[in-house]
């Protein structure tokens, strides 16, 4: 076999950090090569160097044995390297066709757009992908998974020889991911070389040939998939063996108080009517496929979004919960799905983010904030939750994903809240931090909190929850307890509804 791509001794420094230190990577032609590592390990940075978005400080990039130096993404594309971005690079108000051909539109001899030829080519692309998408509507009207496939089609339309897939499955359901793997195998048969980034090890074992692991910007090792196993890879990634990912579940207490009871919640006029109950000291899972209406229900219950009609009882008392401020008053906090756009004020310091909704407690008698008390309390909460940062005044944008998530959690723990809604708390954070979040959640329920845990990752749901409400197409189709909580049972309800 011949080496399609070789990175030698790549080093990249950002102000204050060495993002990458002497990284080597060799990928054979037609190989699907997994790039593994915790968040912040340097995978995305390395791929941005390979695709010309960043330039390395040291080291060489060789394509088919020829040294290349890309000063922009366009140069990399011209050389046959394309990247499917982790964060969508689509323009929301343009349709799929316009997005795919953005910057290299087909034109006729007068310089006008030839929509027809672009549409035809896009249709052919999606046909090849086996995906049916409305090509005429703005992409913001498409589902997240459909947008992901537009992104994939965009990269494929470049006829790349080397295709980088940066966490393409993060937003896909298992079926959709399976479909993507089919596409990848097909591309492989056509000698396309792929670099695949994913946090899901099972996916990597399913579709990849070789694996390279990075940790803290260093090269850890490479291996054939057939010669390794999950435990080894996790050890390479985190530098230590994870003892046990999930804390033990306590014995269920059948007489536990109801802290939150949604007797009926209807999101829209003809939408299904849902009900659920959350007890003291329990973790209630909201399981289901992406788009099955879990977040929507939770958000409507606490007044973050409008509901058509709802009847909610907090500690057996009817409560209107017309907005999040009222939810806060009765002690319900939300950890939103998207921590950067909904959870945090990224330009603010840790202190300001944590105290944003509990400034009242620093007021004392006068109208002014006691900054000393605020600072000290922040430090104390940070220690309690385990936020790793140099300083309470550190800007949260500079923290890792896991630490950012802990800052959002701290905000609610600094309050009198007793009910916490965790919407995908472990999305996009690394294995070690995930485990810390699980432990923290269980510790909180032991301290008396009740948690609604929304997650698309089955192992989390199964490993952590005391009870699981399974969603399908906007309705709770089953509520599982005890031994019923296993992957097959949850998946069966989520996909078939019975």
């Amino acid at each position: 076999m011949n080496t399609a791509l070789r990175l030698e001794q790549i080093t990249k420094r950002f102000p204050g950090v060495n993002a990458l230190t002497t990284i080597d990577l060799a990928v054979e032609k037609g190989e699907i090569h997994a790039l593994l590592g915790e968040n912040g390990a340097g995978k995305s940075t390395l791929m941005k160097i390979l695709s010309g978005i960043y330039q390395p400080d040291e080291g060489r990039i060789l394509l088919d044995g020829v040294e290349r130096c890309f000063s922009s993404y366009n140069e990399a594309v011209a050389a046959g390297v394309a990247i499917i971005f982790q964060e969508f690079s689509l323009i929301p108000d343009l349709n799929a066709v316009e997005n795919i051909f953005l910057g290299r539109e087909h034109t006729n001899s007068l310089g006008f757009l030839t929509r027809k030829s672009m549409l035809q080519e896009a249709r052919a692309l999606f046909k090849k992908l086996g995906i049916a998408i409305d090509l005429e509507v703005p992409v913001c009207k498409l589902s997240v998974a459909q947008q992901q496939f537009v992104e994939i089609a965009k990269a494929l339309s470049l006829n790349a020889r080397i295709l980088i897939l940066d966490e393409p499955t993060a937003t896909l359901t298992p079926t959709e991911a399976e479909h993507l793997f089919g596409i990848m195998r097909d591309l492989k048969a056509h000698d396309v070389t792929m670099i695949f980034i994913s946090h899901h090890l099972d996916e990597i074992f399913e579709v990849c040939d070789r694996i390279t692991v990075l940790r803290d910007g260093h090269y850890v090792g490479s291996t054939d998939v057939s010669e390794t196993d999950v435990d080894t890879l996790v050890e390479w990634m985190v530098g230590r063996r994870l003892e046990q990912a999930f804390p033990p579940k306590p014995v269920r207490n059948s007489s536990a108080r109801k802290v939150l009871e949604a007797r009926s919640v209807q999101l829209a006029k003809n939408a299904p009517i849902n009900s659920f109950t959350l007890h003291e000291r329990e973790i209630l899972g909201f399981a289901g496929l992406v788009g099955s209406g879990r977040s929507e229900l939770a958000r409507a219950v606490i007044g973050a979004d409008k509901a058509w009609q709802k009847e909610i009882y907090v500690l057996d008392k009817r409560t209107a919960l017309k907005d999040t401020a009222e939810a806060l008053e009765v002690g319900i906090g939300l950890l939103p799905e998207n921590r950067k756009t909904e959870g945090l004020i990224v330009d603010f310091s840790i202190r300001d983010n944590i105290s944003i909704n509990n400034l009242g407690k620093y007021l004392g008698t006068g109208p002014f904030i006691d900054h000393r008390a605020e600072y000290d309390t922040t430090q104390e909460v940070m220690n309690r939750v385990g936020v790793k940062a140099p300083h309470p005044m550190t800007v949260v944008g500079e923290l890792s994903g896991g630490n950012q998530q802990k800052v959002v959690i701290s905000r609610w723990l600094n309050h009198h809240c007793k009910v916490l809604i965790f919407d995908e708390p472990t999305r996009g954070i690394d294995v070690g931090a995930k485990s810390e979040i699980y432990t923290l959640m269980r510790r909180l329920t032991n301290e008396g909190y009740a948690i609604i845990f929304i997650s698309s990752e089955l192992p989390e749901i199964v490993g952590l929850c005391d009870r699981v409400a399974v969603f399908r197409q906007g309705a709770i189709v089953a509520t599982l307890e005890g031994d019923e909580i296993n992957s097959t049972e949850v998946m069966r309800h989520a996909t078939t509804g019975n």
Binding site: P15, G16, R215, D216, H218, Y219, V220, G221, S222, T223, D224, E227, W236, V238, G239, R240, A304, D323, T324, A325, A327, L328, E329, G333, L334, P336, T341, E342, G343, L344, I345, V346, D347, F348, D352, S355, I356, N357, L359, G360, L363, P367, F368, I369, K388, A389, P390, H391, M393, V395, R411, G432
Partner: protein, 336 residues
């Protein structure tokens, strides 16, 4: 070729203490304050004026500049709040004219200043609430809402006055524009009090933190349980109030209610705010920066006048300096 590098630092050894704790030398601390660059700019512009003009460096001239900037600076306080919250208020100049003429009209009609002034200030506040209602509760973009109400306020002022200045105000009213307190001109005193109040509000109270937070990330602030709409309403009310206060000072200074005053004052106020280092998209900035920004504009006006630069050329020079100031602040953001 299975291999594993052996000389890696295990993660466990990376303690948080190892990372850099912000150094707290005096210079480093000063540099981090949001108004550091505006302050450097003000000093630089002042130095140029000191070198190029003879009389710039006199106590008299300094007080002169402070008085000249006071009206713009007072308006800029409300504007700072609006911009920090991620909004803007284009109606300030027109609201100033409306409040100013209303006070003048009432006084000429025989209402004592002690009643006419509060009424004029209340009208500014009400106009601000009107803006705030559409922005906060109807969810309309502030730039459009205040563009529309700018026309409404100006129109009311013109109808009320018939388009003519209202003269013949009582002598006692001159205090706010021409008088002095302990040797300092009243407009300067009012300006400093307004800035002090705004400083306390923005830096020492929860409301101030919410204003910054809304500009930083409105959705996150709302989901944290803060009643965002309430504080947005307040911001526009404040902006209307400070505009009315500027109207008080102007009417008193001119001893006349001028329905055509304050045209394009919103632009000067915005310039003062952004030159003071406040981000036009909200969430970052400081009220002290705004004072510095307003002073910078005042120094430029004053100095260029003394240098005998034509007003037409002055506009160009001021425009270029504003561009430069914003360029610098953008650079600052990128590096972070």
């Amino acid at each position: 070729m299975q291999q594993q590098a052996t000389n890696l630092n295990p993660i466990e050894q990376l303690s948080p203490e190892a990372s850099s704790i912000p150094t707290s030398t005096w210079l480093a601390r000063t540099k981090r304050t949001p108004f550091f660059f505006p302050l450097v700019g003000l000093i630089a512009v002042s130095l140029v004026m000191i070198v190029t003009t003879e009389n710039f460096l006199s106590a008299n001239n300094f007080l002169n500049i402070a008085r000249q900037v006071s009206i713009n600076a007072i308006i800029a306080v409300g504007m700072t709040c609006a911009i920090l919250s991620g909004g803007i208020d284009l109606a300030v100049g027109a609201v100033m004219a409306l409040s100013g003429t209303l006070m003048a009209g009432l006084m000429v009609a025989g209402v004592p200043p002690s009643a006419a002034i509060p009424i004029g200030l209340c009208v500014g506040l009400l106009f601000g609430l009107f803006n705030g209602f559409f922005v906060a509760y109807a969810g309309m973009p502030p730039i459009i809402v205040t563009l529309a109400t700018m026309g409404i306020a100006r129109g009311i002022a013109l109808i009320y006055t018939g388009g003519y200045p209202i003269d013949g105000l009582p002598e006692s009213f001159a205090f706010f524009g021409r008088g002095s307190v302990l040797g300092v001109q009243t407009p300067v005193v009012i300006m400093l009090l307004v800035f002090l109040a705004a400083y306390l509000l923005l830096n020492q109270t929860p409301v101030g933190r919410y204003i910054y937070a809304i500009g930083g990330n409105e959705e996150a602030t709302r989901l944290s349980g803060v009643r965002v709409a309430r504080y947005k309403l307040l911001v526009y009310a404040l902006s209307g109030f400070t505009a009315a206060l500027a109207g008080l000072v102007l009417s008193s200074r001119l001893m006349s209610g001028q329905p055509n005053s304050g045209v394009a004052f919103e632009m000067d106020a915005i310039a003062a705010v952004v030159m003071g280092g406040t981000s036009i998209s909200g969430g970052r900035g400081s009220i002290i920066g705004t004072l510095i920004g307003a002073m910078m504009l005042g120094v430029l006006n004053n100095g260029l006048n003394m240098m005998g630069v034509s007003p037409y050329v002055q506009n160009i020079i001021k425009g270029l300096i504003i561009l430069f100031a914003i360029y610098i602040s953008r650079e600052r953001r990128k590096r972070r």
